[in-house]
């Protein structure tokens, strides 16, 4: 009798491995397993892909916003509602301006002051536009820009009435002289 089981198996070691594996089939599975990326790698790849996707979307959004902002050269290019408002203001200003020009002007100083006022309003309008280009759409800038049109109209109307008044006064004085 042997001393113990350990001894028994030690003596019979050569005959222990009597199960025969399917070597080729198992190798094919191992080879396939080795060529597949590991789960950890798969997870990392998925995370990277999701991150890249989010970054790409954000990038496209930012680029789109920047391009939109860069293309803004008037209130009309922001949205349709503002486009309509601006267009009606421009029509009104042009009408009033034509009316103003159609009136005979003898006061050169008045014309010069008017042009200066209008230039100042142009500057305010462009500042508002620059603010929107740099920081995106904001209500305050839009209101200021629209306000410049209101002011233009009021200035031109006031000058028209001034011219008319002057003209009326001149006509009266002519009649008196006659």
């Amino acid at each position: 009798m042997p001393e113990n089981w350990e001894e028994y198996f030690r003596k019979n070691r050569a005959e222990q491995d009597n199960y025969e594996p399917d070597v080729q089939r198992m190798w094919q599975n191992i080879d396939k397993g080795l060529k597949q990326p590991s789960i950890r790698w798969k997870r990392t790849l998925i995370k990277v892909a999701v991150f890249a996707g989010v970054m790409l979307s954000m990038g496209l959004l930012v680029r789109h916003e920047l391009m939109m902002q860069a293309q803004i050269d008037s209130l009309a290019s922001i949205n349709e509602e503002l486009a309509q408002k601006e267009s009606s203001y421009i029509k009104l200003v042009n009408l009033k301006w034509d009316e103003f020009k159609s009136l005979p002007s003898e006061d050169v100083e008045l014309d010069r002051l008017l042009l200066e006022e209008l230039e100042l309003l142009d500057t305010i309008y462009n500042r508002g536009l620059r603010d929107i280009k740099q920081h995106g759409y904001n209500e305050r800038a839009v209101l200021i820009m629209l306000d410049t049109y209101e002011k233009r109209l009021r200035i031109i109307e006031r000058l028209i009435s001034e011219k008319r008044k002057t003209q009326r006064d001149e006509n009266k004085s002519k009649q008196i002289r006659i």
């Binding site: 030690r10 005959e15 009597n18 199960y19 594996p21 190798w27 080795l34």
Partner: protein, 181 residues
Amino acid sequence: MNKTFDLTEQLVQSCIHGDERARYELYQQFVKPMYNVAYRIVANQFDAEDVVQDAFIKAFKKIGSLKDNRAFASWLKQIVVNEAISLIRKTKKMHLLAEDIEQITDVEVKEVSDDIPIEKVMKKIQELPHGARIVFTLRAIEGYRFNEVSELTGQTVNNCKVQYHRARKILSSKLKTILYA
């Protein structure tokens, strides 16, 4: 130095450098003993195949971390044993020592006779309850010490000893019938 060791070392080195042929050579050299180690623990062909495949994949992926190329065989065997025990835990949801140890009838433990053919002994080992079979296989066949078996199975050393004793009792009882048949 032994020629087989030399060859294994060279193959391991080539594997580390990504040589696919060396990988296959190493596989051929170790597949049968590793399959048998796995079979003795999981006790069926399909689980043994899964264990060996997973163990080789893991080993080839981590071969760069092997500190001593000469230790490849024992390192690989350790991976196989770990994979096998982990598979048993997963599939059988088994606590290795949850089986009722008290149920064993008190059999006189006789040492095994050299005359009993190994195939018959191996067959009877496969019929042991999971916990007893695993502890007995690791200790008596694979040559691990009780503290190593305890680490591998996650059981206390005392529990492993109880399981080992239980396995011996059952085997003695079963083999007695063969001897006196």
